[in-house]
Every structure is written in C-alpha cells, then in structure tokens.
Amino acid sequence: MKIKPKIGVVSCSGECCGLGTISRVATRLALEELRPDETVTICLPLFLAGEAEEHGFAKEYPTIAVDGCGKRCAYKAITKYSKEPAAGVDVEALLGEWGIEAPKGRRTLDGDGLKAARRIAELLAAKVDEIQEAA
C-alpha cells in the first residue's frame, strides 16, 4: 500500500495588504475544510525565527508556498532554509489572471475577496493531490 506524504502548506504573513489576508485565509481553508488529513502548516515567522527543528519542516514534508505578492517571501524563505517548495502560488498574479481586484480591506475580506480565497483554496487542494500522486 502506498503511503501518501502529508503536504506542508505555508502562507506568507502578508500584513501589508489584503493579498496577504487572502493568502492566509486560502491556506486555512485548504487545511481545515478541503484536505484536513493531508496537510500540515507552520507559521512562516516561526519558520524564519527557528533553528534546525523548524527548518527541518520543509525537508520532512513536500511544501506549497502561498504568497500574497510577487515578493514571494514564503517561497524564498523555504528555499533558503530548507529546500525548494514542490509548488508555489502567487495570489497577486492569480487575481490578475482572473480579473479580480485586490481587496481593499486587510482585516476582513469582502465578498469578492472571500470568493477569491475559496478559489485559491481549491487550487491548493488540487496541488496537494498532484504532489501526493507524484510522490
């Protein structure tokens, strides 16, 4: 029987704008609702502040980096301290492709922001399945 690895889904902290909030909400929705038994996460600031134990996270699990903007802090941090993520998502680029405006608020998401977060969560779930299949 093939044992599927758990997938680490790591969101940027993204305090600067609503894109970070979408990144974070999409990650939580994937973890809590869509693939609760297949995924794990770690706080990016903890990963960054951490030592070998925290940095071992991405060596132990294939990861998906979820970034709010093109600066791609999560992707770069995982690559720098562990190994290159199995996949990466850039929320800003995706919203551009889908023709959705970036949310104005950052504390709570409006209707369009929430819809975008759910759509990205679905995308993350599909990536989790793909990575597990390929493992």
């Binding site: 305090e15 600067c16 974070r24 939580r28 706080c43 960054l48 600066k71 802090c73 504390r107």
Partner: protein, 134 residues
C-alpha cells in the same frame, strides 16, 4: 513630521492567538489610529528587504505576539529593530479567563472580543509613544 509607530503582529497561523494578534493590529492601524500607527510584513523584514529594515531601524516598534514563542519580537530584534512595547495574546487570555477563542480562519465571538480589548491596549500605548516621539 513624526513617523508612525510600527505595530508588528506575529500573524501566527496555527492557533487563534496569531489571528487575534493580526486582527488587533489591523484595528489599530486602519481604524483606531490611522496615520499614527502602521504595520509591515514581518516575513519581508526577516527576508532582508532593505525598505522594511530601514523603516524598522528608523521607527519606534511595538511587537504583538500570539504565543510564548514571541516570533514578532524575536524577528524584529534580529532585524535591528528596537521594541518599545510588547503584547502577548496569551497574557490577555489570563486576564480574561471567561473568553475561549477557538477559530483561526475567521475569529469567533470570543476571538473578536479579545481582539478589541487588545487593540484598545495597543492604541493606548501608541498614544503614549506618539506623544513622547520627537
């Protein structure tokens, strides 16, 4: 012209405490003290972004952490920032034992209450630091 006080949450994603830290900071920066308080991306700062490092080095900072690991304080200090005040959601929970926040993605009622209490405390500290700043 005075520079805004930088209020930086840990934005922890594993428990409700991190969500409360983040929510409270946005309340302060966007609703209670806009112009006097601002925030920045903690991860961007730690990844060495020059603009973020410059802002931190030139500003008075407040770190807001969810748990005892204190990722915000540790990361800001490691990046050359000077912490003028520090808040922890864990401490707030001890002062408000009746409140039990559980949700992470979207704060539940107790999480919202704690966020409001924390935001008021941070805003009061912002006022104090703002008054004292040159």
């Amino acid at each position: 012209m005075k520079k805004p006080i930088l209020v930086i949450p840990c934005s922890g994603i594993g428990k409700s405490f991190g969500s409360i830290s983040r929510d409270a900071v946005f309340r302060v920066c966007d609703e209670l003290r806009p112009g006097e308080a601002d925030t920045l991306c903690l991860s961007l700062l730690v990844m060495g972004d020059e603009e973020a490092r410059r802002r931190v080095s030139e500003s008075t900072c407040i770190a807001v952490d969810g748990c005892t690991l204190e990722c915000s304080r540790n990361n800001v200090e490691r990046s050359g920032g000077r912490i003028a005040a520090h808040f922890r959601v864990m401490d707030l929970l001890r002062e408000n034992r009746g409140l039990r926040p559980r949700e992470v993605t979207f704060l539940d009622g107790d999480g919202e209450k704690l966020s409001k209490i924390l935001a008021e405390k941070i805003a009061a500290k912002v006022d104090e630091l703002w008054e004292a700043s040159p």
